[in-house]
Amino acid sequence: MAQPKRSQLTIRLVVVALWLALVIPGGIQLAAHRNYKETIVLGPGVTEVRKLSDWAPYIEGTTNDCNIYVLDSGVPGGTMLVIGGTHPEEPAGVLSAVTIVENVVPKVGKILVAVRANKSASTVTRPGDAYPQFYTIPTDFGDRKFRMGDRWSNPLDSWPDPEVYVHYPSGQMLAYMDVRNLNRTWPGRPDGMLTERTTRAFIDLINAENVDIFIDNHEAELEYSVISTIVAHQDAADIAAMASMMLSAMEFPMGMEYSPLLLHGLSHREVGDHTDALALEIEVPEPFLDRVRGITDEALLLEGKDEFVMRAGKAGLLYEKIDENGWHIDERVGRTNSTIKMIVEMYNEFYPDRQIQFEGLPTRDEVVAYGVGRYLLNPAQVGANRVVQD
């Protein structure tokens, strides 16, 4: 075998060096993102932090064995489960859940919160789409840093994808990658792929805790018709209808949509069909998700301003208004919180025997006036036993 000439060897070494120069820094960034631990401060209402595997041992040891924050009033009443981070690229849903954990004090009944319902999906972004890896929320004590994520679980945790994803148990065929989409894998199965196991774990939690009302926080692109709305399982339609009318008259326009009867895998369909909980989903606008957007960076993610999305609006191509003020994260978190509060108020009207009452949730006007950072607690000002990582 002929030895390569010295010049050829040099070229090969240079190519390898260049490749390593690209791969190593990139790999370090990806690893740093995947392993970054988010700080969550336990607010005055948190009575316990459990793991999802407490209800579903088959999820133990996986990335998706997320924290479940328990806010128990000790007064008998109903139980609510709120999940953020179904799609970690929709940060308002995550931050809304954080503001519940760090601010809400339950008075009647119990509140369960998952900030990172699909933790795996928060450990990967879309570099090809220029997604930022993190976002920071300014506070009086400095920035709080959160992982930006993707719509789908990390392939490092769930691989390989099937050629076609066949939803269990309906048999409906869906796009292959949606086997990693937490909002396409409900009600899940304990021996399925990671994301299917995760939704099954939540179903087991909902049944074991007799959850009365289940809320899944989301954001949506303005090009999509299901936006600024509450999507409700038919059993929760009355609550959504009243909440929609009340919010629209008193705070901001909020519509309602039926959970489609024949489209399977979505939380509002399957949680409603497979448990006794009333299932609802909240969608607020996020211009970052629009395909016509321009520069894709943390500023767009948090400020929601984009001239190309605005142009699409002027051309009548959007289902929600947008102007030069954009859709700031404060507006989106605030609307999500106000909607949760109104849903609970309406639930209490319809189900007075299983009341859920709480205080301290910052609503739209407060979050817009003071910024969401005002409602994030300073980990340095609480004891170490009141700080956890998620």
């Binding site: 018709s225 299901v226 600024s228 709305t229 409700a232 339609a237 009355d238 959504a240 209808a241 009243m242 929609s244 009318m245 009340m246 629209s248 008259a249 326009p253 519509g255 309602m256 949509e257 039926y258 489609p260 009867l261 024949l262 489209l263 289902y319």
Partner: protein
Amino acid sequence: MATNGIFSIVKKGTALVAAAVLVLLASHVALAQVPAGMDIPANLPKLEGPVAITTIGQAPGLVQVGLLLKQLKVDVYSDDFLEAKDLVGKGYKVLILNMGTSLKGMGAAGVDLDSEIARCDQLVAEARKQGMFIIGAQIEGLKRRTDEYDERSNKAVTAVADLLLIRSEIDHDSFFTNVAKQRNIPIIRTKEALDFKYALGVLFGVN
């Protein structure tokens, strides 16, 4: 006597002022009950239940209308897929057709707009047979006036309704006003969805 006369005049004057104040207060209270931005035409019919309500396009606004009717204690039956045969023998006096479409809702419910409009036509034919009054309602505002599907639902319902009850914001191009004029039917416009309760209360005499 002169003093008595003055007292008498003062008393009469006081009584007149008091009466005027009462009339003003009463009219103010009456006016205050009408939600801001609502037009209540003079030629409204007096309706009574029971009411059957459905959606032409699977938009969920019928849930909102149905809830407000229930709050007014009007007997109401809601069904997304109400068919002509469901109107037979039930004694319904009023049929409410809710306008607007849900693309996600229709496809996932296994229907399309053609089948929804065909169902609408059959419902109207049966309602006419039974002498029912038909209300075309649009409670969800601009959210259900976004595309050609919404327009087809609006056109199908406004063409057959005996009265239109809509949100003002969707009449920005006067489409609904013009249809009401052309067909000589009353139209009630409200600013908010919640204001439908007042309008329905007027129609059913339960305010």
